[in-house]
Symmetry: C2
Subunit: 352 residues, 2 copies
């Protein structure tokens, strides 16, 4: 079953014969069309929609500005006017384009991603949760895209390891990381990123700031770049100068825990059990991991008691951490669930 | 009249006694709370809402993760659970928090920015257009924020002028620009940006790519960073090595046009007339300018026939351009409409 088959099966379960993808990640998943998300709402465009029926490729609803990029997928493309020097009406344009595409059908969709005036014109059922679950198992072409995105994260991790040095600020280090990721991607790309430093890294997350790096600092660098609609993830903890013995010991413990976590990945494992294995004896305030794909945190969630069962084709980011008054360590790799075990997709170093 | 007074006047015109700000820019405008927009939809949060009534400061509805930042405004803050290791339900959380805040009142709001399941619980009237117009005139504290954001754009413009050189790629130049803007901002920030190069810059927009800069190239760098909820804007065109005489001539013409445009800014001028003055004899495919504030393109739009009349406190970005088979030039400054004329807020150079 391809992902389009799985999506249509979700629709049938709801008594609908069409899926209307509304979340930007679900649109990317069903169509390969990666809308721009890095600058908030546009004055002349809504986010794209994609309509999937059993009768052919999906139909993408986008602005005329996006038509060429949308046509590079295998989808049909229906447009409405986008940027221009006349009046702007993205809501009206979307409603008119979508009405023709949906044509009165009952659609299984994601209401939380639909602006109210657009939803008012649709007959819909809420299949958000089920579509989210259907996204968890990746098709081979999706895994290729995640591999490419992980290469971008690798490049960012290499940059912080090679460039971070005492006397520069967190933002100086970030400039190298950001430049390396954009160069690897071939374009500026969005990323979810933490870069926090200090001898006492009680902060386990946060953006880089003006703090100057000092000898003895640990730097937690967590990089999730978005490339061609697919997110990667990664985390390293490196030391500036000589780490303390406490830092060495904590790092070795978390590295061992990451390796134990990865080794436990195989089909049939329950997400909550994997969480327990990773979390045992540690007290980090976050998940032990999560699926990645066209959203940066998705199924399977690796959190206490979570019932999702691992299947081949799922892609997990696993990230044990340890944070005390004195230091913070987190390490993260991306892992593919294979037919009989796992493959680590990340190539960045997790040395201290 | 402060902006909160103007917003409440909009509500009264619709027979409502409250404004529910739903667009992230309107929330920033009424509250000073700048939500994160750079990474698309969050799995654990909806965008913030802000409820304004005549009886006190606005009430912000945000996740618990955002509570500290929201509390730094003068607003009341109502939260719902955000990131966590249990079940995530941002829609349910928003509905519960918002129901208590709205308390059955009729609200003047922006339906296109409200997810369908949230809107279904509200009594609302669509005041999107009127709130957009009310945002056009800035209060003094907003102008201070725009000045600060323009300083970030200035830093990015300085970086491309100082660093761009033959042999580096557009992305190499962008890494300096991006690093300079983040350093000036004190944090990574989103930006809407073009960086296009070539002897024949027929492309008037687009992201930086892997093209190598060569002697004789023109580079169009258009930078709109977002700082503390307020966008700036800016554009320069610089030459790598010796520009051709055609490039010098086109640049001089556009520079003269920018200066003529700025000199024409004063209260009472009709936006469409300003467009005609800037556009005369040129054939660029875009607006002549636009308002900026908590959105990157807003009222007054400087486009043909646009009826908005300039008022003191409006902030315009003016950007004449000239694009042929052989070359492309665009220059842009941000200008404040004052009581009797204008003040140029931009400080970046617009030399070739």
């Amino acid at each position: 079953m391809t992902r389009r088959d799985r999506a249509l099966a979700v629709a049938r379960d709801f008594g609908a014969d069409a899926v209307l993808a509304a979340h930007v990640g679900t649109v990317a998943w069903l169509t390969g069309y990666a809308a721009s998300i890095g600058t908030g709402p546009s004055p002349w465009a809504l986010m794209p929609f994609a309509m999937l029926t059993p009768d052919g490729p999906p139909v993408l609803v986008v602005t005329e500005d996006e038509a060429a990029a949308a046509a590079a997928t295998d989808c049909e493309v229906v447009t409405y006017p986008g940027y221009g020097i006349g009046p702007l009406d993205p809501v009206g344009g979307t409603i008119r384009a979508l009405s023709a595409v949906v044509d009165g059908r009952l659609v299984a969709t994601e209401p939380a991603s639909i602006p109210a005036p657009v939803a008012a014109r649709l007959e819909l059922v809420d299949a958000s949760r089920e579509l989210g679950l259907a996204r968890a198992v990746k098709d081979p072409d999706e895994i290729d895209k995640i591999r490419a995105s992980v290469r971008v994260a690798d490049a960012g991790q290499r940059a912080v390891r090679e460039r971070a040095a005492a006397g520069m600020t967190e933002l100086d280090a970030w400039a190298y990381v950001c430049g390396a990721m954009h160069a690897a991607a071939g374009s500026p790309i969005p990323s979810v990123a933490d870069l926090v430093s200090g001898p006492s890294s009680q902060r386990w997350e946060g953006p880089p700031g003006r703090r100057e790096l000092e000898d003895g600092d640990l730097i937690i660098t967590d990089l999730s770049p978005l490339l061609s609609g697919y997110w990667a993830d990664s985390c390293s903890t490196i030391a500036i100068g000589e780490p303390t013995s406490a830092a060495r010991s904590a790092h070795a413990r978390i590295r061992g825990r990451l390796e134990r976590a990865v080794d436990a990945v195989r089909p049939g494992v329950i997400a909550g059990d994997l969480d327990a294995l990773i979390r045992e004896g540690l007290a980090y305030p976050h998940h032990s991991g999560h699926g990645i794909g066209t959203t940066y945190h998705e199924e399977p969630r690796i959190v206490p008691g979570w019932p999702t069962v691992l299947e081949p084709g799922m892609v997990l980011a696993l990230e044990p951490g340890h944070y005390t008054e004195d230091l913070g360590v987190r390490l993260e790799w991306v892992v593919l669930v294979t037919d009989d075990g796992y493959e680590v997709l990340s190539r960045h170093l997790v040395d201290l």
